[in-house]
């Protein structure tokens, strides 16, 4: 049974991403006007994908924290532990870069990325896509494309590749944290 975070990722969050992908297909015509319009849609798609994935990661982190707090026997310690698990969380104020994700999930006393890679070595390549997505997200948000080759042109295929990578990572994150928290606490977290 996957986490609520993963279920939201593959339903509500996926739905909003599908809608913007359909918007791309709906842009008609063959002239330069269409190329400009589809570029804007691709930019919006990339930014939305980055934010939806960040939302998933934050949700999963919260769900993991709650699972840990739930097994603490002393009720008056629960708020203390909960607050410290999310205090100054990187995912709450920064992008879902591999570094920020690792920093937040490592708080659960897990070598997060090594565990993810050990579970599925193909996630090494997925990290690369995640970094690229975040670079583009920042470039689009700040309208400064120097860090992404100096060119604002972004193909739909690239965004689709990033989305596939995010989905793979989301699935592995869910599996790794579920297994880890179960072993740690003796209780299935979700």
């Amino acid at each position: 049974m996957p986490s609520i975070a993963w279920q939201n990722w593959s339903t509500d969050r996926a739905r909003s991403l599908d809608e913007i992908e359909q918007a791309h297909a709906a842009v008609g015509g063959i002239g330069p006007g269409r190329r400009y319009a589809t570029l804007q849609v691709n930019h919006a798609y990339a930014v939305l994908l980055a934010s939806q994935f960040q939302g998933f990661c934050r949700d999963l982190h919260t769900e993991c924290g709650d699972a840990i707090v739930a097994v603490i026997p002393q009720a008056n310690l629960k708020p203390l532990v909960r607050k410290n698990l999310i205090l100054h969380r990187m995912l709450g104020r920064g992008n879902a870069t591999p570094s920020n994700i690792g920093a937040d999930f490592n708080r659960f006393d897990i070598s997060f990325w090594p565990e993810v890679h050990a579970h599925d070595p193909s996630t090494l390549g997925m990290m690369k896509h995640l970094e690229s997505l975040n670079d583009w997200r920042n470039a689009i948000a700040h309208q400064d494309f120097a860090n992404v080759g100096g060119n604002s042109a972004l193909q739909l295929q690239m965004v689709k590749k990033w989305r596939k990578a995010c989905h793979k990572l989301a699935t592995v994150f869910d599996t790794v944290m579920q297994s880890y928290l179960h072993r740690l606490s003796g209780v299935a977290p979700w």
């Binding site: 690792g102 490592n106 006393d109 090594p114 890679h117 390549g125 690369k128």
Partner: protein, 174 residues
């Protein structure tokens, strides 16, 4: 009347220690002796846990939760290096050169004993060659720099044949 008795520190800055991290025993380094700040005066240490190639983690742990260790990492095997590079490790490293920079990089073992890379020489086990700048193209290797990347891969101790197989497995573009 003091309620605690100060004892000599069991560990010193720079020393390797092992401790429990979740469900694993990991190795870190003492970076600070915080003194007898713990419950009943137990000594607290600042410990660094390397998470290469990402940022290291810093903990404060009590003395009785640390063990001294002289255990060294097992040498990296050719097959492990090849698999790491082929499965995304090479592209990840090449990504660090996408802005035109060319930092040296080494391979080492991570907290689980698997292969990872590091930009810190003192933590590296093999390598040290500079990353070929701008050598990645999407999720492939930039064709004009194929030979340069093969030489870079060989800097990790792989044969010419193994280096070519890694590069060919990833593919080149355009």
């Amino acid at each position: 009347m003091p309620s605690t008795i100060q004892s000599e520190p069991k560990f010193h800055v720079g020393e390797s220690v092992s401790f429990e991290f979740g469900l694993r025993q990991v190795r870190g380094k003492i970076v600070e002796d915080r003194g007898p700040l713990g419950v009943k005066g137990r000594r607290i240490y600042g410990v660094q846990l390397d998470m290469d190639p990402l940022e290291s983690m810093f903990f404060e742990l009590p003395e009785d939760e640390l063990q001294s260790t002289t255990e060294a990492d097992a040498p990296l095997k050719t097959g492990e290096i090849r698999d790491y590079l082929r499965n995304g490790g090479l592209l990840w490293m090449l990504g660090a050169g996408s802005d035109g920079s060319s930092p040296p990089v080494w391979l080492r073992r991570n907290t689980l004993g698997n292969v990872t890379h590091t930009f810190v020489e003192e933590r590296g086990m093999v390598g040290g060659g500079p990353i070929p700048p701008r050598a990645e193209s999407g999720d492939k290797i930039f064709t004009p720099l194929r030979q340069k990347v093969i030489r870079f891969v060989r800097s990790f101790g792989l044969s010419e044949k193994d280096a070519i197989s890694v590069v060919d497995a990833i593919g080149t573009h355009p």
